[in-house]
């Protein structure tokens, strides 16, 4: 048998039907559903009299629209947000899928809820009407975002019509320096490949840096595979993965665990397997980074200066000029001198317990800069409960952070958490697009410790100065 990549193996294990031209019906093991991209899909089923084929493999949770303030039990003020959340509630019940309502402690961002409850397992195919489904690739699961028509297709048939992507390997060798986190790694990769660099590919993240990384870190990396244009990102499952999965509510138990483990241990890229594209970075070369523009590829080390648009090529010259105008920055300005108004810590990129621990390490015993708005939004109710148990919540509140309930919050501002015009935010989320966090809001993407450092000084800050 010819050697296969990890992606090849998972793909081959899920072919329900293959046409001569390679168009494949790929079987879907887990379908995650949230309130924004699903109403039209359920409506489609209703109109055509179709059912959900595998309700047991379908997990629904509201996250984008839910308020994250402590008084959210009183309901959602915005009428349209409420309609979407109510629609999910109704659809989940009517079609009989697994469901975590807002009142459930397990409610949270769909990409945090899946892994946390053991729904996401190695070797699976996982889809969701959300581009950051790539997150689940951290388990060695083939996971990607789909549109609403495809959501309806998966609900009705438990398959997707797919053509296979190409294989790309992103290798990060060696060790990371102190102060450098998985977020810096994933941003540095996008900085190197560009936002279109992964288009048409499934990325496998290889090398010592990922082997050394925790599951939380791998999720952060895979989460942003989509920002590099890739269909999905993968990390081969290993002891770290199995350790994380073991004992979770929906993970296999007993004899099934043993059987699963035996298969999972075959999920790696064979010696000699071919990648269509290879990118290699040295872990030692990666610095704590920030974004300066309105594309996630606009990445620079915190020690750098705002670039001059004329140093770019082609259409990027205009795009960079537009970015700087939007961001209110001048070429040559030192990144570490940029003053900020707001800090947002959370999202499916960096809303897990490990992220919150890293923030607590930096802010413990300190106060955030006066006048700054700073909020910490745990990725799920379970993360929140754990942070309270570990005493992190107290540290945050003493430092002056707002300590919120779980949801997407200011990652995309579909809920009341938004930037106002011109407000400058340091954010641990994944997109710095124009208007992403609020109309004319300005976003700098960073790691959790960098966000913590910025909260204390009130400007973009090199966290290493505080270590």
């Amino acid at each position: 048998m010819s050697p296969k990549t990890l992606y090849d193996k998972i793909w081959d294990a899920h072919i329900a039907h293959e046409a001569e031209d390679g168009t494949t019906l790929l079987y879907i093991d887990r379908h995650l559903v949230h309130e924004v991209t699903s109403p039209q899909a359920f409506e489609g089923l209703r109109l055509t009299g179709r059912k959900v084929r595998a309700p047991d493999k379908t997990i629904a949770v509201p996250d984008h629209n839910v308020p994250t303030t402590l008084d959210r039990t009183k309901g959602i003020d915005n009428e349209q947000s409420r309609i979407q959340v109510d629609a999910l509630d109704r659809n989940a019940k009517e079609f009989g899928v697994h469901y975590y309502p807002v009142s459930d402690i397990r409610q949270g961002i769909v990409h945090i809820v899946g892994p946390e409850n053991g729904w996401t397992l190695p070797g699976m195919t996982v889809v969701c009407g959300d581009s950051h489904t790539a997150t689940h690739g951290a388990f060695g699961a083939l996971a990607h975002g789909i549109g609403t028509s495809e959501v309806e297709h998966v609900l009705a048939t438990q398959t997707l019509i797919q053509k296979k992507s190409k294989n790309m390997k992103v290798e990060v060798t060696g060790k990371l320096k102190p102060g450098v986190t998985p977020k810096d790694v994933t941003l540095a990769i996008i900085g190197a490949t560009g936002t279109g660099g992964g288009t048409g590919y499934v990325i496998e993240y290889c090398g010592e840096v990922f082997r050394d990384m925790s599951m939380e870190g791998r999720m952060t990396v895979c989460n942003m595979a989509i920002e590099g244009g890739a269909r999905a990102g993968l990390v081969a499952p290993d002891e770290t993965t199995f350790e994380y999965v073991k004992g979770r509510t929906h993970a296999p138990k007993g004899a099934q665990w043993e059987a699963a483990l035996t298969w999972w241990k075959t999920l790696y890229t064979d010696e000699g397997a071919q990648f269509d594209k290879v990118v290699t970075l040295r872990g030692e070369d990666i610095e704590p980074v920030v974004t300066w523009g309105t594309s996630p590829e606009d990445v620079l080390p915190i020690t750098g200066v705002v670039p001059d648009p004329s140093q770019f090529k082609g259409g990027k010259v205009d795009a960079a000029r537009r970015s700087l105008e939007y961001m209110g920055l001048k070429p040559g300005q030192k990144l570490s001198e940029i003053e900020i108004d707001t800090v947002f810590i959370g999202s499916c990129t960096n809303g897990r317990i490990e992220d919150l621990r890293a923030v607590a390490d930096v802010v413990k015993g300190k106060k955030i800069k006066e006048g700054l708005r700073a909020m910490i939004v745990p990725g799920s109710g379970l993360v929140r409960a754990q942070a309270e148990e570990e005493g992190l919540a107290e540290i945050f509140q003493e430092a002056g952070f707002e300590w919120r309930l779980a949801g997407c919050s200011m990652c995309l501002a579909m809920n009341p958490d938004q930037l106002s015009e011109g407000e400058r935010c340091v954010s641990t989320s994944n997109r710095n697009f124009e208007g992403r966090q609020g109309y004319k809001g300005r976003t700098h993407l960073v790691s959790p410790p960098m966000a913590a450092a910025a909260a204390i000084t009130g400007r973009l800050t090199d966290v290493r100065e505080m270590m």
Partner: protein, 201 residues
Amino acid sequence: MDKFEKITGIAAPMPLVNIDTDMIIPKVHLKSIKRTGFGKHLFDEMRYNRDGTEVADFVLNKPQYRDAEILIAGDNFGCGSSREHAPWAIADFGIKCVVSTSFADIFFNNSFKNGILPIVLPQEQVDILMADAEKGANARMTVDLEAQEITTSDGDVIPFDVDPFKKHCLLNGLDDIALTMEKAASIDTFESSMSVQRPWV
């Protein structure tokens, strides 16, 4: 879904690279639970001022491009989120074809499912079409899916590639779900063999 045949229409030039889904349809407009009515919000933040008036120099607000049916765009069009509201807004506005040097993957797939034809061409050819589009309303181009050709207003013919299955679905306005349901037996077989091989799933 409507059938896609041949269109002859106005092409609007948008040379900006990395036009993302938040630009195409900002999230404040994602709150509907319907599929229609998004066209008036297409490119909302670039197209309107905060007070609701139009931004005069935005391409689709210019008199010659208000009825555009084709968009010629910069590299990496449609990057960002998986929101199908982006192609819904484009289709609802009346645009049936987008040409660029590359598209984000999810957007590309979503387009076909909504009767929009995304065409990938090399830079030089996109440049030719961009220049043609910049001539305004008299420069109508033709996109012929059957023949896989774009004809510029000057009569230049540019061939393009398209996945045969997607072409077939678009030409015939076919619904993916119905097509897949014809293969239900394969899915049943797969499921029963999986319940033995990977019972934990």
